[in-house]
Subunit: 568 residues, 2 copies
Amino acid sequence: MSDRLSAREVKRHKWWGWGLDDVTFRYDNKPAFPVLAKNKVGVDLDSQQPVVPDLSVFEIPAGRLPQEVRSGLTAAVGAENVIEDDEYRVIHSFGRSLPDLFRVRAGDFARLVDVVVYPASEEEVAAVLRLVLEQDLVLIPYGGGSSISGSVTPDVAEQRPVISLNLGRMREVVEIDDTAGLARVEAGVYGPDLEEQLNAEGWTVGHFPDSFTYSTLGGWAATRSSGMQSDKYGDIEDIVRGLRLVHPDGVAVTKPIPGRDSGPSVHEMILGSEGRLGVITEATVQVHRLAPVRQVIAYMYPDWEHGIRGMHAIARSTDVTPTFTRLSDGPETEFSLSMVKEPSSTKGRVAAKVQDGLFAYLRSKGWDTTNEMSISYVCFEGSKEAVEQQKALVKKIVKSNGGITLGAGPGAIYDQKKFDTPYLRDFLMDYQVFGDVCDTGATWSRLNELHARAYQAFYATQEEQGLPGFMFCHMSHSYHAGACLYFTFAFPYSSKQQALQQYYAAKGAVQQTFVDLGATVSHHHAVGTEHQPWITEDIGEVGTRMVKGLFADNDPGRNLNPGKVVSP
Amino acid sequence: MSDRLSAREVKRHKWWGWGLDDVTFRYDNKPAFPVLAKNKVGVDLDSQQPVVPDLSVFEIPAGRLPQEVRSGLTAAVGAENVIEDDEYRVIHSFGRSLPDLFRVRAGDFARLVDVVVYPASEEEVAAVLRLVLEQDLVLIPYGGGSSISGSVTPDVAEQRPVISLNLGRMREVVEIDDTAGLARVEAGVYGPDLEEQLNAEGWTVGHFPDSFTYSTLGGWAATRSSGMQSDKYGDIEDIVRGLRLVHPDGVAVTKPIPGRDSGPSVHEMILGSEGRLGVITEATVQVHRLAPVRQVIAYMYPDWEHGIRGMHAIARSTDVTPTFTRLSDGPETEFSLSMVKEPSSTKGRVAAKVQDGLFAYLRSKGWDTTNEMSISYVCFEGSKEAVEQQKALVKKIVKSNGGITLGAGPGAIYDQKKFDTPYLRDFLMDYQVFGDVCDTGATWSRLNELHARAYQAFYATQEEQGLPGFMFCHMSHSYHAGACLYFTFAFPYSSKQQALQQYYAAKGAVQQTFVDLGATVSHHHAVGTEHQPWITEDIGEVGTRMVKGLFADNDPGRNLNPGKVVSP
């Protein structure tokens, strides 16, 4: 056990965007990027000036914390862990959804949380929860604040004092059961911190969502997160075997035993509950020995359809068990190539020449190398022999589905860059360009139709709106029956007044396509408030009624993150 | 779609025991069995006379079905599917738990279901459910009637008319999605019928619980069943991807999409709900292509501890993925050997000689071949090459953990006999001997302690009771973090008056040990009423309260299989 961080040592986002203050997206070394930005969304990066947000220009409404509540919170966690600073309240009042980021930059501070509280133990969480129920307050658990679904954002109409409960001081690996491969971990631990503590003992959880650097174990469990290595390590519902939840009636404990068989699953009621049943304080997770060898190999298919056939063949094969499999469609491949840095070394220039030669060869074979090719990445882990054997088998599968193997070089580049994408969204917003994502789970039999229909829906909407736009997609998270499609889109909004309306039109068209085709409203971005318009189409009328009943029964006063998942 | 069976064509158990009327356990060709029975539980099979139950000696109370309800049921499903015969009512009033079997043989018919109804469609189920709610009746869904936890047994104190809803006419594979590997299947299909329909199209579900011949898909889902091949195919919660449940407010539908991310899982509330939320009418299940090669190989370890180390090494290995792995402890191995038939052919006699020679050799190596050796079975499926490769790897793992490979012969015998065990329990009861099981899930780190403590608890209880007894155990269902321990015990009760009390003392001592050591009250036999004494220790105070709230909210009138899982 290391020493507890103080509240102010807990890491936090910049107030207006993703992650660290001094990290931003740069394009000066990516010559193809401004060309793509100009062609696809009509933005001239060189002539336009980025906007730099400044918190001091805004008036920040004072918090509404009654003295009695302040005293109670201070008694529960200590004065230094009860923070009412403006910047803290701003940061904790918004997740990192596009509407949240747009609103925070616009100084739309109509309803901020009133206080940020940093407990250091389950007992302190319980004390805060008791106070919340006694005083009829609102409690919003806060992990990494990376929700893109509105899960940590208070309701603008909320009249009661709102507490944001930041779990960031609860970050310890409590215990590792080496024999069972299980680790008890406090819920507030961030991804990198968790892996660092476990790696030191030779273990890994293997959970790497895009938000990894700014998301926590408790947040993953509360929102049913999936990591990019879910093919091997499973989604968070496979990884988290036991939970501790501070609930209005006490601490709910689910045992970390595989093969549960004791009625309806309490564990699976807590997973995805987004703070509506209480506060997750601890999870027992499966851990795995670090693999001796890890390699990411890149492949190229002539187009999406060939790629999907290859991906499905890999998923179906009982002989190969990759750590992850990922396929970018034509537009995403084009986008990825635009992000390649200008070679700064002889080696890099040689590699660029090799790529030029390869593309010329593929064109001679009839491939369209502008925007049809689909790049794929597959990750292998294990002993040297197992990795070599699996690579050989996958190479064969790729080939028999019309693809070629590019090798470990581009794979390694992908692997290094994988957590950087969120910074790009902030950068684009500086230029009045919205960039966002929609993800869904679907069966293998519907993937191609869904892919085509989502594109149609997006571009038809943009045409109606009279706006340019650019969309691309990848497939990841393979399962027996299906996979996740993950769409990214970008467009310049026409004015601040119309911006969110234009955003919801575009995003809504894609989400509606998902549920219309029987896919899920989200594969791994939870419901929050942003996906609620489709929740009933996703889980059905009766399912919605069952979930509402669950929340009403456990939190009749609507004190626990009210309005999230389903409302009222 | 084949034609619907009529109600009377649906298969049913003999009224007093397991399965078909004309199938019983025989020991005349198993010379070691009566010796074991005499030594371990003091029963002289040759001198005692078995009891043959006779229904006609009992008075069967008339059903309490009001004419109005009868008319409503007839309108819903047709008169020929509303059966009030005595024998049908008796069969449907008891599962196949030991107390149920003891009571049914004793003519303990204080409360029988009043009618058995056979719907043929979701609409008919919905019509029956409407009637149940309108008239304040009690509805008990009935699949194969194989529950050993009391899940289909009406409460003796129930004053309202009780309907047993037999789903056996709803047995069709509705649709197979070849691309996604998903099959939509009506919930009333029995195991063998399901596999036959799927095998005809080249598919298998791979779910083979011990109750396979007398259990149904809907029953598996409603009780969180596990099959013996769960290592490869998963437990029923992994296999069933989508459900349709006729619920008081309509039909709840969970989408068969992998990677669910829409709040608390409605799907996982329905799984294990034992009829308390409504009637499961359909499930969408993962199906797999039939493996070209399937082999069961037997291994022998000098004792349980060596065997567990071998099993854990196989589970941990990322190189091998067996279909099942199973390890019998010393007493179970001794029991299995007692069940071997007397060789009736030259080949059989040669095999027996070979075994004698092997055992002599093992004794010369210091093994105790009487009751310490632990036999293990591992099943391999796949291409010929993959099976050979996996067999070689497992052989190596077994050897490095002190075991030896016996080969495919004993493995094949195990595989053929695997569904016969339930008949043995009825046979023993003819001799006033109780035989029953307790199963639990636990982590690898607790398996040996749990194994030892369960034995202590059982034998200490038998000593207190002044009764002989015999217990044995196997490990199956391997997971990353743990496995299932499955105990079987037998003892002669001293009198009919004391029989159930003696049974509950023995079983209760073992179950209590499970929860005391943090293991689950049951791995795959559900809760029903029999496991309720430990449900709160298993899922906790808060969890119990959450499950009670779920049932109360969805079924405020307690019309749906009341009293099961949690009570009230």
